[in-house]
């Protein structure tokens, strides 16, 4: 881009923001990180909501219904992915489990970890 002398500053930046916009559309995790870095708060829907949600952070809110509302819509494979990605279960732990059982495991283990790691004083 810098080699094109015909671009105005606005056009130059437009290209950058277009690229960024496309990436944010395709990558909800990046979108969540950018929004967080800017101090904002936005709503993610359906699968993107579960993908950008950290089960520890949601469990720390202390609300079981909220936790289930975030993760209940996931398919078994996606739940397994969340459990694995967050070091909350091994393949052996998850073998033969139904969606409901995986969701319960996600909630119980994330809540338990948060309680173990949070100060009992503060």
């Amino acid at each position: 881009m810098a080699e094109d002398p015909g671009l105005t500053a606005v056009e130059y930046l437009d290209r950058f923001f277009d690229e960024l916009r496309e990436e944010v559309r395709a990558n909800p995790r990046l979108a969540a990180r950018l929004v967080k870095a800017l101090g904002g708060s936005v709503v993610f829907e359906d699968e993107a909501k579960a993908e950008v949600s950290n089960p520890y952070v949601v469990a720390a809110s202390g609300s079981k219904p909220k936790f289930y509302s975030v993760f209940a819509g996931l398919k078994p494979g996606q739940l397994r992915q969340v459990l694995r990605d967050n070091n909350l279960a091994t393949r052996i732990d998850m073998a033969g489990k139904s969606s409901a059982q995986l969701l319960d495991m996600l909630y119980e283990r994330a809540s338990s970890k948060v309680n173990e790691r949070k100060s009992s004083m503060f």
């Binding site: 967080k36 950290n54 520890y56 990605d85 948060v114 173990e116 790691r117 503060f122």
Partner: protein, 306 residues
């Protein structure tokens, strides 16, 4: 408030306490012209080694300028005065040395170093104290009183006094924590270190500082930019330590390791030469910590260098 006492402490070892101590000392002296006193309470003597070199630590001990010499005064029943045990020049930055040569001592680092001898001496002290029916608690309290009196006359001379504390609760460590105004907690973005911050918060909150959150400045160190590390760092900020002040996240860096390895006691380097690619991290650490100090004490600090 002159001479704010800040403990660099975490009950877990290997989280970058000494490195954070040295980066803060350099950053505060260089960017804000603060006069910094570093007291090394850790018998591993890592920050002493980083600031003075091994040869410098040994030479200081031979001159009787070491933490175990000061504790020796306590054991002898004499009132302590830390001044005579301090190495007045622990500066390794060329800019600060030149400023001093030009009689512009704005930004200086002095040190009361530790030596591995400190651990043996502490064991001897504990044995003697407990033989006389003392307890760990009374020993820590007596040491805290002694160190407070020893440091008090120095507080007007320094803007900040950094106590590099060992990663356990020895009587000297407890004494250092007891006399600190604020607590700097380096930690690593992994699960064992996260659990370590809980132990730290619980213990300090119960025995030393029930108002810990407002007095606690947290620095995530040795950060490897992986998805896992980002997640743990985010959990520390959002869940476990959400009520604390956070400094910048310091990357794991070969340049930091090199910066902590001073070639010789008479070796100086420019700030840029010493910190290279991590100099922005050191600047941000100093900036954030100064903001925290201003918030705590009401004193404002002007940047004197870019």
């Amino acid at each position: 408030m002159p001479g704010t006492i800040a403990a660099i402490a975490n009950l877990k070892g290997g989280v970058g306490k000494s490195t954070t101590t040295v980066m803060l000392a350099d950053g505060l002296a260089y960017f804000y012209g603060m006069n910094v006193l570093v007291l090394d309470l850790d018998a591993q003597a890592n920050s002493s080694q980083m600031l003075l070199t091994e040869m410098g630590v040994q030479a200081a001990a031979e001159q009787g300028k070491s933490m175990h010499n000061l504790i020796g005064e306590f054991m002898a029943g004499r009132p302590g005065a830390a001044g005579p045990f301090i190495m007045p020049n622990a500066v390794s930055l060329e800019e600060l040395r030149i400023a001093e040569e030009q009689d512009d001592r704005k930004g200086w680092i002095s040190m009361l170093p530790a030596h591995p001898q400190l651990r043996l001496q502490e064991l001897g002290l504990e044995e003697e104290w407990y033989t006389r029916s003392g307890t760990p608690k009374t020993l820590a309290e007596a040491l805290a009183g002694f160190l407070r009196n020893a440091i008090e006359p120095l507080r007007p001379l320094y803007d900040i006094i950094l106590l590099d504390c060992p990663p356990h609760l020895s009587p000297i460590a407890r004494a250092g924590l007891a006399l600190s105004d604020i607590f700097i907690t380096p930690t690593i973005a992994d699960s064992v270190s996260t659990w370590g911050t809980k132990q730290f918060s619980d213990w300090i909150g119960k025995y030393i500082a029930p108002d810990l959150p407002g007095r606690n400045f947290v620095v995530i160190t040795r950060f490897r930019d992986t998805r896992y590390a980002r997640q743990v760092a985010s959990e520390l900020r959002e869940i476990y330590l959400s009520d604390r002040w956070f400094g910048p996240t310091i990357p794991e860096s070969v340049h930091i390791l090199n910066a902590m390895d001073r070639p010789a006691p008479d070796s100086y380097n420019t700030f840029r030469g010493k910190y290279g690619s991590v100099r922005g991290d050191v600047r941000r650490l100093a900036e954030r910590f100064t903001d925290f100090l201003t918030h705590r004490t009401g004193t404002t600090w002007q940047r004197i260098r870019d």
